[in-house]
C-alpha cells in the first residue's frame, strides 16, 4: 500500500513542480507590467487590484518581480545543481575507478573542502569574486560538489567489485566504454535523486547569498534580494518582504517534498 501512496504523492508534487517551472518559463510572457520599470510616484503602495502584491520602494510591481524572480532563482539553482553534481560525480568516479594515489589525492582534497562550513565558504568565495549571478552559482558549486564526489566514489567501488563488471572486463571491454556503458548508467539514478533533494536547499542558499548582498545585484528581480530591500520597510510596508518570503517558502517546500517523494519511489528497499 505504501508504494501506491508514494506514487500518488509523487504525482501531486510533480504537478506542483511542473506548475512552478511553467510559471518561470512562460510567466514573464503573461505579465503585462515590466519588473524593472520604476515609477517612483507609486513607491510602496499596498496590495490592490492594480498591484496584487503591492509595489516596492521604487514603485515596481512586486507580483511581476516575483514571477520574474522564479525564472532567476530556478535557472540559478538548476545551473548550480547540474554543475556540482556533474563535477562531483565525475571526480568521484575517477577516484573510485582508478584507486591508488589518484584516489588519495582527490579524496583528501574533497575532505579538505568538506572541512569548511559550507555557507561561510560560499560567502567568502562570492565576496572575493564580487557579487553577481554567475559568481553565486560558482561559489555554491565550489562548496557543494564534495557530497557527489563521495557518493560517486563509493558507488563506483561497489560496482567495480560486482560480477557483471568483472564479466565485462573479462570480455575485453576497455576502461572508457566500461565507465560509459556500465558504471555511469548504474550510478545515474542515485545521483539524480540526490540532486533533486538538493534543489530546495540550493534555492535557499542562493536567496540567502543575495539577501546578504553577495548574490544577485540590483535591479535584478531575485527573491533574496527583494527580501533584503523589503527589510528596511518591514514595519511600514510588510508586503515588500512577505510575498518574496512566501514565494521562497512555497518553492522550497515543494521541491523538498518532491525530492523526498522521488527518493521514496526509487528506494529499492521499499519495492519488495
Amino acid at each position: 500500500m505504501g508504494k501506491h501512496d508514494d506514487k500518488f504523492m509523487f504525482r501531486v508534487y510533480s504537478g506542483i513542480v511542473i506548475f512552478i517551472v511553467l510559471v518561470a518559463a512562460i510567466g514573464p510572457f503573461l505579465c503585462t507590467a515590466d519588473p524593472y520599470n520604476s515609477n517612483m510616484a507609486n513607491s510602496l503602495l499596498a496590495p490592490s487590484a492594480d498591484h496584487w502584491f503591492g509595489t516596492d520602494k521604487l514603485g515596481r510591481d512586486c507580483f511581476t518581480r516575483i514571477i520574474y524572480g522564479a525564472r532567476v532563482s530556478l535557472s540559478m539553482t538548476i545551473a548550480t545543481v547540474v554543475i556540482m553534481s556533474c563535477v562531483g560525480t565525475l571526480i568521484g568516479i575517477i577516484s573510485g575507478y582508478c584507486g591508488g594515489w589518484i584516489e588519495m589525492v582527490l579524496m583528501r582534497f574533497t575532505d579538505m573542502m568538506m572541512a569548511f562550513p559550507g555557507i561561510v565558504l560560499a560567502i567568502a568565495i562570492a565576496g572575493v569574486l564580487g557579487g553577481s549571478v554567475v559568481n553565486t552559482v560558482l561559489a555554491l558549486a565550489i562548496v557543494g560538489w564534495t557530497k557527489y564526489a563521495r557518493l560517486g566514489r563509493s558507488l563506483t567501488i561497489k560496482l567495480k567489485h560486482s560480477e557483471f563488471i568483472a564479466a565485462a572486463v573479462t570480455n575485453g571491454t576497455k576502461p572508457f566504454p566500461l565507465l560509459y556503458r556500465h558504471i555511469v548508467p548504474n550510478i545515474f539514478p542515485l545521483v539524480v535523486v540526490t540532486a533533486a533533494m538538493d534543489i530546495g536547499s540550493m534555492i535557499m542558499e542562493i536567496a540567502g547569498l543575495s539577501f546578504l548582498g553577495f548574490g544577485a545585484q540590483p535591479p535584478t528581480a531575485e527573491w533574496g534580494l527583494m527580501l533584503n530591500e523589503g527589510r528596511q520597510v518591514l514595519q511600514t510596508a510588510p508586503w515588500a518582504m512577505i510575498f518574496p518570503g512566501l514565494a521562497i517558502l512555497f518553492v522550497v517546500a515543494t521541491f523538498n517534498l518532491w525530492g523526498d517523494a522521488l527518493r521514496d519511489i526509487m528506494d529499492p528497499s521499499k519495492s519488495a
Binding site: 505504501g2 504523492m9 520604476s38 521604487l58 527589510r231 518591514l234 514595519q235 518570503g245 522550497v252 523538498n256
Partner: protein
C-alpha cells in the same frame, strides 16, 4: 501516517516562518517590562564607529563629544555660529595672526582639577603630537598660557579659527590625568556632564560627573547613569525604541520614521543637517563622463525631487547646490542648470553622439555601450536607494548604470584612485561651521597628488583662484560671496551630482524631555536631556 511524516519538512518550514514573524512582531509590540523608565537612568540607542575613546585617534573624538564627555572652547549654535563654551570670549589681533581666548574660571575636569589656560594648552599640544590631521586646522608659531588667558599665534591668518576649535578633535582633556588612566579604554578626563564608567564598541555606560561646571545655563546633571548601546542597524534601532529598550535613538531611517511621527508616545526632533549625499563624477579623459554633455544629460535625467520626497519619505531634502540650505551660503540664489528634464537629457545624448544602434535600449558609440560604474557602500541605508533610483531613471534615457557595492574603507581608496564613474557618499560639508575645506576636497585641482581627495580629474583654474582668495579672506560678507561663486562654478561645470541633504533626527520617548538634534552632529547627549517629570 505516511503523509504526515512526509509533510514534516513542509510543516517545519512553515513553523519556522511563523515563529520568525512572531519574533519580529514581538519586538515591535513591546511591553514595558524591560523599559528603562526610571528617572535616574537614561538609555540611548546610537550608531558608533569608535573602537576606543582616545580622542586623538581617527575621528573617535566625535564619540567622546556625542556621549556627553568632551567639551571644546567653542560650540556651534543651531545656526552654526560660534558661541562660547569653555572659553568665555575671544578676539583676534589686527594682523589676524594672534587669537586670545579667555577661559572660564569656574570649570573643573571631572577629577576636580581646575581648567586653566595651561591645561588647555597642554591638551592642544597633545593633539598636535598625536594626530597629523591637527595641522590641517591651523599651524601655530606660539601658544602662551597665563592664568585663564590662552594666546595662539598662527603661522598664516586663519579666518575661521574659533570654528575650527569647535571640532571635537579639540576637546579639552586633563593631560596630567593620563599617567594613571588609559584614555583609550577608560575614557579621557574631560569637562562634560557625564564621564565614562565603561566602554566597548558595543556599549558604553556613562556616569554623572560630580564636578560638572553646569554649562553656560548652570544646570544640574539630570541622570545618574546613561547607558548607550550601539545599535548600528537602523531597523533594529527603531524596534528598540518602540519596545522601550531605549528612551531615545538617533537617525531613524525613512522606512521606519512613519511609526514615530504623529505618535503621542514619541517626540521626533528633525533638523536639516550639514551633510550632503553626493556622487563624485569621474571626468578623467579616458572616462565617458569627461564629456560635459553626457554629464549634463545624466544629471538632468535624475528625478531627485522624487527620490527625496517620495522614495525616502522626506527624510532628505532635494539636492541642488553643494552647500546645504541649513547654512547661509546663498542656497536660493545659486542657479541649477541641470534641473530634471528627460527631454533635454535625450537631446544632449543625441548631440554627444550616443545612439542606440543595436536596439538593446542602451545607447552606444563606436561599438561601446553607454555604461557607467556606480560605486556605493551599504552602511548608510539611503545610498543604495539613490543608486538604484538613478539606475532606473538613467535607463529611461538609455544609460546603463552598474551598481558596485563595496566596503567603506575600500570606497575611500577607490575615490582617491579614481576607480569609478560615479561614487556616492554621505559627507559633512561644514565640520568647522564653514564650507571652506569641503569646497577644496573634491574640486580643487589635483595635478600632482597634492589634493588627494579630488580623484575625479576635475580641474578649473578659475575655481582654484577663487578658492585661494577665500582662504585668505577674513571679511564674512566677502567670504560668503566667494563661496557662492565657487558653488556656481561647480554647478555650471556639472561637476558633481548633489542628490540630497539628510534631515537628521533624534527621536525620544515622551518620558524624557529636551532631546534636541543640532545641525552639526557633535552634540547628542547633553545636559538639557532630562526626565519629563
Amino acid at each position: 501516517m505516511m503523509i504526515s511524516s512526509k509533510l514534516k519538512k513542509g510543516i517545519t518550514a512553515a513553523l519556522a516562518v511563523g515563529m520568525t514573524t512572531m519574533m519580529l512582531v514581538g519586538c515591535g509590540g513591546g511591553g514595558d517590562k524591560k523599559a528603562a523608565g526610571d528617572s535616574k537612568t537614561l538609555k540611548f540607542g546610537v550608531t558608533n564607529f569608535a573602537d576606543t575613546l582616545e580622542p586623538t585617534q581617527n575621528y573617535f573624538a566625535w564619540v567622546v563629544m556625542r556621549y556627553g564627555m568632551g567639551e571644546t572652547l567653542v560650540k556651534f549654535d543651531e545656526k552654526m555660529r560660534s558661541t562660547p563654551w569653555l572659553a568665555e570670549s575671544w578676539q583676534v589681533s589686527d594682523d589676524h595672526l594672534t587669537w586670545t581666548f579667555k577661559i572660564r574660571d569656574n570649570v573643573k575636569f571631572s577629577n576636580g582639577n581646575p581648567v586653566t589656560a595651561e591645561a588647555v594648552k597642554k591638551s592642544f599640544e597633545r593633539v598636535f603630537e598625536k594626530q597629523n590631521r591637527a595641522k590641517t586646522f591651523f599651524e601655530y608659531t606660539e601658544m602662551k598660557a597665563e592664568g585663564q588667558v590662552l594666546t595662539i599665534t598662527t603661522k598664516k591668518p586663519v579666518a575661521t579659527l574659533p570654528g575650527q576649535l569647535a571640532d571635537p578633535l579639540w576637546l579639552v582633556v586633563d593631560v596630567t590625568a593620563e599617567k594613571d588612566r588609559d584614555f583609550a579604554k577608560q575614557g579621557p578626563i574631560c569637562t562634560g556632564p557625564y564621564m565614562c564608567e565603561s566602554f566597548t564598541r558595543d556599549k558604553a555606560v556613562m556616569k554623572k560627573n560630580p564636578n560638572y561646571w553646569g554649562g553656560p545655563n548652570k544646570v544640574e546633571v539630570p541622570f545618574e547613569t546613561v547607558e548607550i548601546p550601539s545599535i548600528d542597524d537602523p531597523n533594529t534601532r527603531a524596534m528598540a525604541l518602540q519596545s522601550g529598550e531605549v528612551d531615545m535613538a538617533v537617525n531613524i531611517a525613512a522606512g521606519d520614521i512613519g511609526l514615530f511621527r504623529n505618535n503621542d508616545k514619541f517626540h521626533v526632533d528633525e533638523i536639516s543637517s550639514l551633510r550632503d549625499v553626493l556622487a563624485r563624477v569621474n571626468q578623467r579623459p579616458d572616462h565617458i563622463l569627461s564629456d560635459k554633455k553626457v554629464r549634463e544629460a545624466l544629471i538632468c535625467a535624475l528625478d531627485r525631487k522624487n527620490y527625496n520626497e517620495v522614495v525616502l519619505k522626506g527624510t532628505f531634502k532635494e539636492g541642488s547646490a553643494p552647500v546645504p540650505p541649513s547654512l547661509d551660503f546663498g542656497f536660493d540664489q545659486i542657479k541649477n542648470p541641470d534641473a530634471y528634464n528627460v527631454e533635454r537629457a535625450n537631446k544632449l545624448l543625441d548631440e554627444a553622439g550616443w545612439k542606440d544602434t543595436d536596439g538593446d535600449g542602451i545607447r552606444d558609440k563606436d561599438g561601446k555601450p553607454l555604461s557607467l560604474d556606480f560605486v556605493v557602500y551599504n552602511s548608510r541605508a539611503e545610498l543604495p536607494i539613490y543608486a538604484e533610483a538613478s539606475q532606473a531613471d538613467a535607463k529611461k534615457v538609455g544609460i546603463d548604470i552598474k551598481i558596485k557595492t563595496v566596503d567603506y574603507n575600500l570606497l575611500d581608496k577607490m575615490g582617491i584612485n579614481g576607480e569609478y564613474d560615479l561614487l556616492i557618499s554621505n559627507i559633512t560639508t561644514a565640520a568647522t561651521g564653514d564650507p571652506q575645506s569641503f569646497l577644496k576636497g573634491y574640486w580643487y585641482s589635483n595635478p600632482d597628488g597634492g589634493n588627494p581627495q579630488n580623484g575625479s580629474g576635475y580641474s578649473n583654474p578659475q575655481y582654484d583662484a577663487l578658492w585661494d582668495q577665500l582662504e585668505g579672506e577674513f571679511d564674512p560678507a566677502k567670504r560668503r560671496d566667494l563661496i557662492i561663486q565657487l558653488q556656481q562654478i561647480i554647478m555650471d561645470d556639472s561637476a558633481t551630482i548633489i542628490y540630497g541633504y539628510p534631515i537628521t533626527n533624534l527621536i525620544s520617548s515622551t518620558k524624557i524631555k529636551g532631546a534636541i538634534m543640532h545641525p552639526s552632529d557633535y552634540y547628542w547627549l547633553t545636559d538639557t536631556i532630562a526626565p519629563a517629570k
